[in-house]
């Protein structure tokens, strides 16, 4: 057992956990935040993507202990039901989901991709390539890609309006 501390969605949290505890187990079971999903548990599907120190990672393939001292953001940390993040709003608007299981990882991956490329700088080919590590078995990806493109363009507009 080790004491693991991290900033989770802006709040400092700590808990004594077994060293083998995966970050996703820490988030879901120790902290009760079930927005982060476990799809494949083999690093393939991306349903478990969260941000660690601002970078998208697969939380099923990282130990909670590795995230000790880090800043971790999950789906619950980017928006709320009353105040959706632009990417969340775009997924609803463009129906970028069917069953919704992969959606948390899709959204966290989308936010990371927009951060890295810059809002407004994503074209369809780039989005599809960037989604290489996220699997959706319902939609065929079309509406997911549309939602990310729309969110990226909208966020560019928001940034411009703010200037």
């Amino acid at each position: 057992m080790s004491k693991v501390s991290m900033v989770l969605n802006g709040k400092t949290v700590s808990a004594d956990v077994e060293d083998r505890t995966l970050l996703v187990s820490f988030i879901r079971e120790t902290r009760g935040l079930t927005g982060t999903h476990v799809g494949c548990d083999t690093s393939q599907c991306g349903a478990c993507v969260v941000h660690v120190d601002g970078k998208a990672v697969k939380s099923c393939t990282m130990l909670a202990a590795q995230a000790d001292g880090c800043d971790v953001v999950t789906l619950e940390g980017i928006g709320s039901a009353d105040s959706l993040h632009p990417v969340q709003a775009a997924f609803r608007e463009h129906h970028g989901l069917q069953c919704g299981f992969c959606t948390p990882g899709m959204i966290m991956t989308a936010v990371d991709m927009i951060n890295r490329h810059g809002a407004g700088n994503l074209d369809e080919a780039t989005i599809r390539h960037e989604l290489e590590g996220n699997i959706c078995r319902c939609t065929g990806y079309h509406n997911i890609v549309k939602a990310i493109k729309a969110a990226s363009d909208q966020m560019a507009g928001m940034a411009q309006a703010a200037e």
């Binding site: 060293d19 083998r20 995966l22 990672v57 393939t61 202990a65 590795q66 991709m113 290489e132 590590g133």
Partner: protein, 266 residues
């Protein structure tokens, strides 16, 4: 996953010390291979020694006419480095094609080469570029470092500290990824040295891991064009054959990927 003890090392010396104190320890890089292997209970190290927070093992810097890359540097950092893109574009594009974005944010060059998966990308770059692997104990030429499938010259308590790449006149990598795993079914790195010498290294296809294609190197020395290697393939008897592709299929892929890499290198 079986129980394990996690340790974080602050220096190379501390990492070696912690390893010496462990029953059956393993160094932990980004963990993108080791953790999945542990989850499948195919590995059960008593202790994990995390080396990714060691300052002397991180970062990319110019080194003579080449670059030196710390072992704990992630694939995303290598792919995004302006210095690597300018000096060794083939290496930057290789790093940007490993796994997926989330994996590239965690996986490290040191972890990849220490594991020496026969389908990993980095070994081809190290061998073709004539890189030197600097460990906690010594310096090894890449060709002496990789000794077979999942085998390296590393001793149990020895850790990779950095990799030094000499500059090159041209470099490029082409791979045919398995559609599901994205691991290379055949990947070919072509490097033209500043002295004009050409090296071609193949990953993903060999039974013993990375290997050089000397017949292609000879052909390219006189004529650096895709046509020069069009008729050259490795002996299929030495190649992997599995449900993803037969040895003969992989032999042909090596030729095709070599042509693409040469075209990309220009």
């Amino acid at each position: 996953m079986y129980e394990t003890n996690y340790h974080r090392a602050g220096s190379v010396a501390e990492a070696a010390e912690k390893m010496a104190g462990a029953d059956d320890g393993k160094f932990l890089g980004g963990g993108q291979t080791l953790l999945p292997t542990m989850k499948q209970r195919l590995a059960a190290p008593s202790d994990l020694i995390d080396v990714t927070k060691i300052a002397e093992m991180k970062g990319i810097c110019a080194d003579g006419d080449g670059v030196s890359i710390g072992a704990a540097t992630t694939h995303a950092e290598v792919a995004g480095s302006d210095l690597v893109k300018q000096t060794l574009p083939g290496l930057a594009s290789l790093a940007g094609g490993i796994g997926d974005p989330a994996v590239r944010h965690m996986g490290t060059i040191g972890g990849s080469i220490a594991n020496n998966d026969p389908a990993a990308d980095y070994p081809a770059a190290l061998v073709a570029l004539g890189a030197t692997v600097i460990t906690s104990k010594r310096e090894l030429a890449a060709e002496d470092f990789f000794t077979g499938m999942f085998e390296t010259a590393l001793e149990d308590d020895e850790v990779v500290v950095s990799v030094k790449f000499p500059g090159a006149a041209a470099s490029a990598y082409a791979k045919y990824p398995n559609p599901a795993s994205r691991y290379a079914m055949a990947g070919v790195f072509v490097a033209k040295g500043k002295d004009g010498g050409v090296k071609v290294a193949v990953t993903g296809a060999g039974q013993d891991g990375v290997f050089r294609m000397s017949a292609m190197e000879t052909a390219l020395a006189g004529n650096f064009s895709p046509d020069a290697v069009a008729g050259i393939a490795p002996n299929a008897d030495d190649l992997l054959s599995d449900l993803h592709g037969s040895a003969a299929y992989r032999a042909n892929l090596v030729t095709v990927m070599a042509k693409r890499a040469i075209a990309a290198a220009g």
